[in-house]
Symmetry: C3
Subunit: 654 residues, 3 copies
Amino acid sequence: MQIGVCYYPEQWPRTMWADDARRMAEFGITHVRIGEFAWSRMEPRAGVYEWAWLDDAIETLAARGLKIVLGTPTASPPKWLVDATPDMLPVRADGTPWNYGSRRHYDIASEAYRAHCVRITEAMAQRYGAHPAVVAWQTDNELGCHDTVPSWSNAAQRRFQAWLAKRYGTIESLNEAWGNVFWSMEYPSFEAVGLPVRTPTDANPAHHLDFRRYLSDEVASFHREQAEVLRRYAPNADVLHNFMGFFTTFDHYQFAADKAIDVATWDSYPIARTEVIGLPEAEKARYARTAHPDVSSFDHDRYRTIGGGRFWVMEQQAGPVNWAPWNPVPAPGMVRLWAYEAFAHGAELVSYFRWRQCPYAQEQMHSGLNLPNNELSPGGREVEQAAREIAASEVLRTLAPAGRAQVALVFDYETQWMFEIQRHGASFDYQALAFDYYSALRELGLDVEIVSRHADLSAYRLVVVPSLAVIDDGFVDQIERSDGLWVFGPRSGSKTAHFAIPGDLPPGALQRVLPLQVIEAESLRPTLAPAVTVGGAQGAAVHWRDHVRANGATRIQAQFEDGWPALLSHGRVRYAAAWFTRELHLAMLEGAARGAGLATQRLPQGLRVSRRGGLCFAFNFGEQRSQAPAPEGAEFVLGTRELARGEVCAWRAG
Amino acid sequence: MQIGVCYYPEQWPRTMWADDARRMAEFGITHVRIGEFAWSRMEPRAGVYEWAWLDDAIETLAARGLKIVLGTPTASPPKWLVDATPDMLPVRADGTPWNYGSRRHYDIASEAYRAHCVRITEAMAQRYGAHPAVVAWQTDNELGCHDTVPSWSNAAQRRFQAWLAKRYGTIESLNEAWGNVFWSMEYPSFEAVGLPVRTPTDANPAHHLDFRRYLSDEVASFHREQAEVLRRYAPNADVLHNFMGFFTTFDHYQFAADKAIDVATWDSYPIARTEVIGLPEAEKARYARTAHPDVSSFDHDRYRTIGGGRFWVMEQQAGPVNWAPWNPVPAPGMVRLWAYEAFAHGAELVSYFRWRQCPYAQEQMHSGLNLPNNELSPGGREVEQAAREIAASEVLRTLAPAGRAQVALVFDYETQWMFEIQRHGASFDYQALAFDYYSALRELGLDVEIVSRHADLSAYRLVVVPSLAVIDDGFVDQIERSDGLWVFGPRSGSKTAHFAIPGDLPPGALQRVLPLQVIEAESLRPTLAPAVTVGGAQGAAVHWRDHVRANGATRIQAQFEDGWPALLSHGRVRYAAAWFTRELHLAMLEGAARGAGLATQRLPQGLRVSRRGGLCFAFNFGEQRSQAPAPEGAEFVLGTRELARGEVCAWRAG
Amino acid sequence: MQIGVCYYPEQWPRTMWADDARRMAEFGITHVRIGEFAWSRMEPRAGVYEWAWLDDAIETLAARGLKIVLGTPTASPPKWLVDATPDMLPVRADGTPWNYGSRRHYDIASEAYRAHCVRITEAMAQRYGAHPAVVAWQTDNELGCHDTVPSWSNAAQRRFQAWLAKRYGTIESLNEAWGNVFWSMEYPSFEAVGLPVRTPTDANPAHHLDFRRYLSDEVASFHREQAEVLRRYAPNADVLHNFMGFFTTFDHYQFAADKAIDVATWDSYPIARTEVIGLPEAEKARYARTAHPDVSSFDHDRYRTIGGGRFWVMEQQAGPVNWAPWNPVPAPGMVRLWAYEAFAHGAELVSYFRWRQCPYAQEQMHSGLNLPNNELSPGGREVEQAAREIAASEVLRTLAPAGRAQVALVFDYETQWMFEIQRHGASFDYQALAFDYYSALRELGLDVEIVSRHADLSAYRLVVVPSLAVIDDGFVDQIERSDGLWVFGPRSGSKTAHFAIPGDLPPGALQRVLPLQVIEAESLRPTLAPAVTVGGAQGAAVHWRDHVRANGATRIQAQFEDGWPALLSHGRVRYAAAWFTRELHLAMLEGAARGAGLATQRLPQGLRVSRRGGLCFAFNFGEQRSQAPAPEGAEFVLGTRELARGEVCAWRAG
């Protein structure tokens, strides 16, 4: 358990640096991230590098024993570079360029800009790659933020065409794969393929899907170009990138593949996230000052597997932020609670954004550990408390990494893309469905690992697949090899890899282990909610329902009032034929967990438990005081059984 | 009563065609529409025609006795043509072109593209014009779909200028007609007139109106260019176009004038239509699985007159569709019911979209009579039942065409354009008002003919005019010649043909037969609902109210609580001074029908009756079981008196 | 008290002019505004002036003793001028030009167009500057209407760069002032600075702020260029411009500075204004036919000080208008009431828009004093009554100007810009907050003066500052010099002039007289409403809350339930730490008024009182009949104590 912070020495007088470093060290901070937006100070004019200030900053921090995470500044190219390379500006969907004046104003398809990124990365790495205090390198910053993955430029079109040529070999293969005979969409050559934008009506979903795959690959290769340079000059440092929460525009599992990163880090802003994601309004209201209890851990449990077991929170909310529609002050205790929550889910490091609130420019309303006048902020005081507690506790300080959970939830980026491209029902959102499954599992007291469909799933007792658009034979092989229990949600197996309906109808290859067919499917307007009872719980389908025919030995475990099957099973495989209301998800997953031999408990509203390294933590996000579900006589190493809102406790697991 | 289907042989292996044709014939299908999106297969490269596959397809179908409706493929020009003719791409309101990649990516003002359309039409007509199985030709597909009538291009501007020069002769006449002295909008020449787009505030409504008239003429001339070619090579085939439901961007009466079509056909998707039109939310909820009971018949009764008595449903919803915000599966029975409903309103043919669901590309979630795996879909089984019933029943098979109704409802496209251009109240929608009048008449059990303001209206007992923006002397002449009773809704006669307020105030020339003046008019926010009682029914004005002064012998039949007249009459002419709540429309039209000597009945919720060829049909769209209002001892030729949701019956009319 | 009218002789046959002038004079009208949209008639071709018609119009009106307000026609440049000067078209945020075809289609940064404006102004002034009947000149029309202040053009960019160079001298100063080290936003030169538009995420708020200051200066200089010409040729005429209601895109105090205008005039459309501003829906519903009782007087009390004590209503709503989402007919009496309301707030002249409703073009649904058929409209009859009453009453005819109120409300345009640029909470709107404070003061029966932060505030008994983003030492000096009581709302002093947080935290310099610091601030989603009791009234914070620490001798007068201070005071200075619900604003301001020695009264709903020249007026905007709060035995010079909706009375103040 270590505490870090994000720091921008270039934004403060040099006279403050030494005192800042001293206070950080005294505070208990171990890691400081710097540099990631400072290109205009590193290279104020083309080819003129100024390292003196950065040398000083690094030495000042290192002198206090602080470890440095150094960022490449490629998320904010300076004006002189844009003026010299105007084609590097990304292009909006309407065909006009985005302008200079904020950040992320670059086209990821610009080969000229990519060359500059490699160049500045190499210049930095040459100078600091061997510095003993520089323990990690971050590439760029929040790739894809502000919806900047797509650029609708000529450069993107050319690279997309090349990507397609590599994928399909011949244009006839592409036309066949996409089904371009439909509406005479057949292309005479790869050079004739455009971007799927500004078409009078929907472009071919297969066209969209390949464009999203291409974009995802572009993000990964952009990072890898920098990572290769860093590996060369700083072979012993961790290479990483700070991902975002609830962000699905590129495939993070693929991004991280082949050791492209050493540790997954992500930026956690739970209150703002709760405000902006598609939660029911009542949940947003209830958790406005605490964040939804599962909104951070969902990403902790996702990025932990993306990092191969290693993850950090690179930026942690330290108080009110500036970017949500509304930005309340967190409830007392939450800033401290979020740190323990991250640790309980396996974080090695929780690094706060930022050391001191910047009084000017775009993020002046974003809090930090210190106020602009350099006194500790309310959140800063909470972090100080946590840092003191950890320093004082051997058991907390040396907590073992998170062990492997017995429950896996398969999360699939391509499924997100496919159901965004073809939502079919206005209210269908795959990630929201996955989150509801995850949240139900957490409400049942279970630890969860969020995994790729390509992961080895053989060792899990329970594998939950909220939906998985494409189910291929390899995936079904895993089911056959597994001893666990598998639960599939609606729309599973509804597509081929070329974005078509499987020839033998959905769920395609899954029929090998679960003989049933989806005859028709329907999206449900809010007033259409077919009623059903599952495991004694009454509820309804919302958003989506598959009309299913059970084949072979498949059993119908629950039926809608109008007769359609709601829940079906065959051996160790179960199928939910609809997006259910929450109570039904709880009942269904409770039943599945029991079937898998896992103990569950229904936690009080807003309470969550997590296990790590022989400890069990409990967190209260709820409005009411709650009791942690510790056994009688449990030995508490943090807090007590009684938890007010915003409080946390931990006891030694039996 | 005949059943047809839409079929895309190019989308399926040739090995399936013969079996498809056999099954169609056995099914009872008589007509198959093909070809309308297959340009890239007919002409895969510029000037290189490939007819062999289409020859085969036609022969295969003809061999089973199937009649063919052949479509020109001009709604989906292939990529090579777009690349060779880039100016053919239509232009969006922001000035950027629409892109290739879906369909309807052509500028109707592109003379180069028009020439290609004539060319491909001629090539097809030369080859198949004399083929005995090809009984009809469809031009293009759903002209105007995806809001593609307006193209904001230079080509459109030039053709609009020429259209204006022809209409006005001199620029002085145009300036005078539009009132361009206002805001110094006077043009020095026709070449100086631009398109009414991207103006800092509203452009002159007269400018907008003439642009919409121009666009409507463009759509008609685009069809006529193809129709002329087809007439030359296929003089015995029907020429037609498949119109859309609730679509008003061009004037269908004018389109069809001068025998430009032989039969009006339209594409009927009642459930999606119910979801997207401006119905009250409660109605959308109630009819989410059955469609609103009047949403299809409104267009049946409109297109029947547009076709001069002859109409087909060219595409009929066969199950869930893919394009509404939500797409539920229809209630059992509805797919069959819609066929009988169309027949009862006079359809010669109901053709389903489509033979088999296409598993790939944009419409993969659009159902057909067969599932992608080639088994009959639930909707397909319902159509099979209807086909069997018709085949088994001499009376159904040989049903006479629809007779002329005694009630006319005047629907006017220019009124729609004018009140779109100058809505004045955010919630004012002319078509919604017309639909509410229509629906009230249908709820009263009346058969209705929807007619143009240029039709001969002398023979109707009751003429209902929900509103008519421009009332000229010729129209008033009709009233004077008629023996019927006339009901006018609000805003009638409120404009001149040049989009101005009549000099003697609204309702302009109507004052000849109905002496009253509209002193002021107001649009009503939802919370403003002046109360009124009409014919014993309590209700209110919504959306709109005219403040009327009764002149001469005009009688005030109902008054608002604040004293303004609500319903006025003079002789056989009545005027509703506001958009009323539904109960008032019912009461007012019931009174008018009685005054016209017509019998009415208040049908139970969701029940509708229609008469054709000596039969009376009843349809239950409602949630509850209902009784058909057949006389005692009626002889049922289809179904029984008891109607569950989705059921239909028919009996011999007394 | 004088009545005027807007008139467009060019829109009517010359044969009507003499009769119009006669009827105006008989009506009691004294002033007629003409000319402001007639450029195409004054100069139908480049350099060809046609004055004959305007000579005639002026003589015809002057012959009846009518005084003329002559408008320069620069809001509607004719088509030949646009064609000759295409770069004069303003540019939209997406980079495409706005088109000709309505009005305000000019780029205020176009130097070519500015030269044409000076030229036409000079041509008019040469001809009519010395005409005795032309008593006033209006420049342009409603500068900024239709959101036309910003033009995102190259011309604007060049002039903005020059404006910045003048303001900052060196680019280093600009970079320092804006904090451009953040995100590497440092500019190498003024020529490198772009417009703050189409950036991937927010541009620097300091960048936005300076652009808005620049735009405000552009509007002022555009007016001054014309005003200088007019002063030269018409030294004895009033120069004015017709401002709009609730419009804040430029700083009206700065616009009017240095005698740039002689009288402030504005265009008052109270019902449409009530519909479009951010009022609670219940208020919009309640006042849909009367307008909110404070919506006009808010601007009367603002423009009176902008005009240095002199103000007119240049356009007054005379019946239903055409431009709001819904446009109801005003309740009977309102058109007359609004005239007296303006007079009671100090208006010298109330001029109605327009003499006769124009039956064609964009504003054909906008009422006037006459209907298109030339009979008086319902509103016209009400104005006729008011004109008769004034003519008949010596006391009304010769009413003294408004005296100075004892309550000042500081309204600050820069604060509006800053909190628009950085709203932080989606529902935060400074003008709405200022309006709520104003409305509460009016509900307490107080007369209010709305003043600039640069005004001399020393003589007011009570100074209310709903919020003031930047509080500098000069402003605090005023507080120290004043004997009055000062009330500050939330976010006061939260920014520096360079759009940064003050180094000693908000409220910055205000701490000199009010020792407290805002530690954190939060925006509140609608469901977050911290409860508080102020002065016995129960309520809550909405939209915004500052978390405040009281320092020194500052007293906490009210606390939120969660412990944060709600209302604080120190000597004569009070601070509201949140946007309160209305009851709390009333209680707080009532307490403040008492503290300042001012008498208050809680007026019945919809009733308002205003004092001028020894008279006290009462107006009933409410739904219920009310009693004017006149003392017993009061002498009524207009109306009686009993006021039905829409009625007004006036009595001699004791």
